[in-house]
Symmetry: C2
Subunit: 344 residues, 2 copies
DNA sequence: AAAAAGTGTGCAATCGTTCCCAAAAACGTA
DNA sequence: TACGTTTTTGGGAACGATTGCACACTTTTT
């Protein structure tokens, strides 16, 4: 079960050189004669030499790999973010290791520690909806692991962060509902502890205030597990319906699709009467019935920006003291009236 | 930028033992006195010792990690497969590295070679729709890398494979369309070279034959890039419409959603008049309008089975000579008549 | 012509483990 | 007591790469 790959030693032996010389020729470092370099490179090419990244990692104490933690890859938003991350990472000769927390803080910690022990050079993480205690991340950070947060960020952690303009996205979506004549607008959202939850709630409230609509806390429902359990969502929807909302603003991808599903299942007769606006990056919204207004996050770009920041930290010569929080604008995609109408 | 973790050497020094002894105590191998073992384990626990997987990989020439190649993680089917793989891998102390081919054979090869150089212990792969030449996989396999194919498998490669019962799934879906009274049934499918394409086409043909409907090759459209380019899909749909199909059977996840989208975009007036049946593992089909009949693959289970087979290969004492191709049954989820009707 | 500076190469240590081999300790038996 | 056997431990060589240092050789400087 073992590979037969040629090593630097094999090359050295074959060419009658020392391993150091071969290494230098390959790495193109230090002064080395053009001639020997050419010979070595040619031979390396011939035997299809590939440096062993494991050995290099051990020696250099770094792995040229970046860890990514998201709650789920089966999520439009996150898979798009990951694609953005990959695009930058590959271009800069890093590769990525993806792990899923499944919205469990325990799983999250396990994954982070596993990645750390595999000598990742940096970590890109969106916190799980359960996560409260991030002290283990602080420890790792203090030990020298660069970390960049995206989407779901902690507020008591000084490092680079990349988020969407959650306040504005929520404000716009809520305002859109109001301008379409809705007055009893419910808000279905994620775990109360998440940064995105707070920011999106604030945007929702601000829009209500602008149009002098009273904020009713009973119209806000939190989902501790981010909609991972369908019962959680169905309960929330059930509790909202008695208030007869004419609009719902939903604050995350999974919740948005889950809510429509729950609505259709529990009360198909009202499902089409409630206007829905929600965060989602699903490319399939055009197919949904009832249709909805969606807030799209610049997911791909978010992944790119986060990765650029992380790599800059990794490759920084001196410790970084100034951190940025990049805020990217969301896009409001208004419901298309005729979509979902079977007679068109 | 470096971690301060304690090594086996540190423990040895602190306890006045040799590294060999400490290693043995930790690994629980060879004969070692209960007493020293206890002391070592206690101290290791105290300093929170974590073995360095990189060093171990180098020494043991294995990494306890499994490579996964799919065309895209932003695909319901594949993300579910990956979840199945993770579940088994983690339980058996392996971890997974995911890479995407984006349906490009070049990217696929690059990824595979990168994973191989990172000393993965085995590879789980679904071929890209572009892939024709798998000689590089054969090379790796011959050099000792265990490979298990799933979903899209080559026929000229002797190893374990896990696939869905594509013939039956297609047969059932096509038959369902026929039984709902459709007679001009088009077939939109993937690249002609893929195993799944051939099998699903055969199922489609068989169903037609059973009901004495002539097979018309012009009603079959292939998408070389698996629907990665929306133009490709729109063209295919446009070419099909003149034949006035009353039903379409679509053979992959991305194509199914993409086709409905294209249909709605190009000819909203007929979109709801054509009955659609297609392979998809989207959890959102209930929201789609027009609604459709879907063929669901046991994705999670497929991932589990493939991973179990792979790990059995990795851990096999002697070379394996008998290979199996596991075939898992699909499930037909019939269209719900009232779904998609805004007046219900 | 000798000293200084510059080039190209090899030696050997190192990263953190594992494991072969041998030495030491403990025990048993004659 | 002497010797063999078993158990436990330590020494040290790998695994494949990088790199500081020393050394040889060439070229330049004085």
């Amino acid at each position: 079960m073992r590979f037969e790959t040629s090593t630097i030693k094999d090359i050295a032996k074959a060419l009658g050189l020392s391993t150091s010389t071969v290494s230098r020729a390959l790495r193109d470092r230090y002064e080395i004669s053009e001639e020997t370099k050419k010979v070595v490179l040619a031979y390396a090419e011939k035997v299809n030499y590939r440096a062993n990244p494991i050995a290099r990692s051990l020696k250099e104490r770094r792995s040229y790999s970046i860890g990514i933690i998201v709650s789920e890859i089966a999520n439009n938003f996150f898979s798009q973010v990951i694609n953005g991350m990959e695009s930058i990472a590959y271009a800069r000769d890093y590769h990525v290791i993806i792990a899923q927390s499944h919205e469990s803080s325990k799983q999250e910690k396990l994954n982070v520690e596993h990645l750390a022990s595999r000598s990742i050079d940096g970590l890109l993480i969106a916190l799980s909806s359960e996560t409260q205690d991030i002290s283990y991340l602080k420890d790792l950070y203090q030990k020298g692991l660069p970390i960049v947060f995206f989407d779901r960020v902690p507020d008591n952690f000084e490092t680079h962060k990349v988020i969407a303009n959650n306040f504005k996205g929520s404000f716009d979506a809520t305002e859109h509902l109001i301008l379409s004549g809705k007055r009893t607008i419910a808000h279905l959202t994620n775990s109360e502890t998440l940064s995105i939850t707070k920011e999106r709630l604030a945007g929702y409230k601000a829009a209500l205030a602008k149009y002098h609509i009273n904020f009713n806390p009973e119209l806000v429902k939190y989902c501790q597990h981010g909609g991972m359990h369908s019962a959680e969502l169905e309960d929330a929807v059930k509790e909202l319906l008695p208030f007869k909302p004419d609009g719902i603003f939903i604050s995350s991808d999974r919740l948005t699709t889950g809510c429509i599903m729950a609505l259709k299942k529990s009360s198909p007769e009202v499902a089409h009467k409630i206007a829905i606006a929600g965060f989602t990056n699903s490319s399939l919204v055009d197919l949904f019935s009832p249709s909805l207004t969606s807030v799209k996050q610049p997911a791909f770009e978010m992944g790119q920006v986060a990765t650029e920041l992380l790599i800059s930290m990794i490759e920084a010569k001196r410790p970084i003291t100034e951190f940025e929080t990049k805020v990217l604008d969301t896009e409001l995609v208004r419901m298309q009236k005729n979509v979902g109408n079977p007679f068109l």
